[in-house]
């Protein structure tokens, strides 16, 4: 793949072709901690709260989740990397940290440009019509208004929400969960990305939409330097990624060619 890139550049064709690997994402012993408020649970009497204030211990209803514990790896241009692991192993948290959305507690993450996270959870306003949400979502991704206007019909068309009547002008709270997931994905996929992080985004919608969205992701991959894919569907990791990182309890369990890692992961999950 690197050879191919070098060939396409007129200046470098005559030079001896070696694989100069250009890093796009460098993760250096990164730790990510986030705090969760559990609400008033357990011993939350006023007396206990006062005692905590006096003794300056942290409240028991704030729990620190140490989701990523010292992860180190380097991703290079032209790589597609799968991230796998059981539920709660820190995959999504790691992606958010790479996207710069969650700060690292210790260590560092360096990136080329601004990585984009393609998730399905982009929160939108449920009381507003679908069209309005498209405009808002695109503006939030930093698109200029003229481009938003131009892309609006395209995005609505891609999401397929108008297949059964004019749903685009109805509030999003009237949508089925599949419909709103499709619309959110369509909004997120409307932008060009440098480093692309995909978090379970391919799992939404019906089969027809899934095929369409996989095609769109391939297009996006071609223009992006590096792609990360979080998925529980091992088949889609096998199809799109040549390298796979296996996270378990926030630590890297294995990092290598997809086939090897998936075989070990299969043995691990079946053995449990």
């Amino acid at each position: 793949m690197v050879d191919y890139l070098a060939m396409s550049n007129d200046v470098t064709v005559t030079l001896p072709r070696i694989k100069e690997r250009i890093p796009t994402v460098v993760v250096d012993d990164a730790h990510v901690v986030y705090r969760v408020h559990k609400g008033a649970a357990g011993s939350s009497s006023p007396v206990a709260a006062l005692k905590r204030m006096v003794t300056r211990t942290s409240a028991p209803n704030v729990r620190q989740v140490h989701a990523v514990r010292g992860v180190t790896f380097t991703a290079y241009r032209g790589e597609a990397i799968g991230l796998i692991g059981t539920n709660g192993s820190g995959k999504s948290t790691l992606l958010r940290a790479i996207a710069g959305l969650l700060p690292v507690e210790r260590g560092a993450i360096y990136t080329q440009g601004q990585p984009s996270l393609l998730g399905v959870n982009a929160a939108l306003l449920n009381d507003l019509p679908g069209e309005r949400n498209v405009t808002l979502g695109c503006l939030a991704m930093g698109m200029p208004p003229e481009e938003v206007q131009r892309k609006l019909p395209e995005i609505i068309e891609f999401s397929g929400i108008n297949q059964r009547g004019d749903f685009a002008s109805l509030p999003m709270r009237t949508y089925s969960s599949g419909m709103s997931a499709r619309l959110r994905f369509s909004i997120a996929a409307a932008k060009q990305h440098d480093v692309l992080l995909i978090d379970e985004a391919l799992a939404t919608g019906d089969k027809k939409f899934r095929r369409r969205s996989e095609k769109r992701v391939r297009e996006l991959r071609e223009s992006a330097g590096t792609v990360f894919l979080v998925s529980h569907q091992l088949s889609s990791v096998r199809d799109t990624c040549e390298r796979t990182i296996w996270l378990e309890s926030g630590e890297i369990r294995m990092d290598g060619p997809t086939d090897e890692v998936l075989r070990a992961y299969d043995a691990f999950t079946n053995g449990k």
Binding site: L117, A123, D127, G142
Partner: protein
């Protein structure tokens, strides 16, 4: 390509490798000028978001946008009933109802901005964790939404002022700069409480009490002459510098003839207003910017 023979990067630490290829720290706080430029690029998002919030807040009500005018009107009616009719707070004032509504609407502008500002970050964590944009967009959008609400209130206020027999004078134009100053003050204050509220979630519980105390200290519901009569001299001097009292007095001085004012000198009142606007506007922005990289943590 010059280092073709040996792998030049085998001995580098990750940090050196990153520096060599010009990679930047993920989620690094941009410089102040860059942040401001980014924020300017996102101005369309700010206005679209604040419009959307405004529409969404009325979308479930049958009367819809009409509530933008009905809410302040009802508010004024309730307070007039209690303080004007039941408690007889008018104290021989010429036009108590206009005096009351002016104070109420101006104070409400700041009050609602602050109340919603405490949740600007903590209530939008989903959006913050999903998308990348300068976080100051959120408190600024709240200020913009409240500004639009205020315009609705001002229509009501001007109606009341005219209906109670005040003349239309050139002084009315003073209302425009006064409201603009207050809007910048609000933006700074909203950004400040947004950062505070992002870490200290208890702030949401405390805020209503702080705001109520502030309201009583701003002479909204009763004549400001009560301050000078009942408080020791130094306390009155402190109240004179209360930014909310200052903005309210400017609005009252603009619209009402013969209204009681605590600050006898109008130029001094303007000076205090401009001072607060600068301190809060610039200070709030700097304070919010300094916390930029931490807002996703929750």
């Amino acid at each position: 390509m010059a280092n073709a023979l040996a792998d030049p990067e085998s001995g580098l630490t990750p940090a050196q490798l990153a520096a060599r290829h010009g990679l930047r720290m993920a989620g690094e706080r941009p410089s102040l000028s860059r942040y401001t430029r980014q924020l300017w690029q996102y101005r369309h998002f700010i206005s679209a978001y604040s419009n959307a919030k405004l529409t969404a807040s009325f979308s479930n009500a049958r009367l819809g946008q009409l509530w933008q005018v009905l809410t302040p009107l009802t508010n004024a009616a309730v307070y007039f009933l209690i303080f004007g009719v039941v408690l007889q707070q008018t104290r021989g004032m010429d036009n108590f109802i206009a005096y009351l509504t002016a104070g109420l609407f101006i104070f409400n502008f700041t009050q609602t901005s602050v109340q919603q500002g405490t949740q600007a970050i903590s209530g939008n964590l989903g959006l913050i964790r999903a998308l990348h944009f300068p976080r100051a967009c959120l408190p600024l959008a709240i200020t913009a939404t409240q500004f639009q609400q205020l315009l609705g209130s001002m229509v009501v206020l001007l109606g009341i002022v005219l209906a109670t027999g005040e003349p239309i004078t050139l002084k009315w134009l003073m209302l425009v700069p006064a409201i603009l100053l207050q809007t910048i003050f609000n933006a700074g204050l909203t950004m400040t409480v947004a950062r505070l509220g992002a870490k200290a979630t208890d702030l949401k519980q405390v805020m209503p009490f702080v705001l109520r105390a502030w309201m009583y200290g701003s002479g909204v519901l009763y004549s400001v002459e009560l301050f000078a009569e009942n408080l020791p001299g130094w306390a009155t001097a402190v109240v004179q510098f209360n930014p909310m009292l200052v903005y309210i007095e400017l609005a009252r001085a603009a619209l009402l003839e013969n209204t009681p004012l605590l600050n006898s000198s109008l130029p001094l009142t303007w000076l205090i207003a401009v001072g607060w606007t600068l301190v809060m506007g610039v200070g709030g922005y700097l304070y919010f910017w300094r916390g930029e990289q931490e807002y996703g943590r929750g």
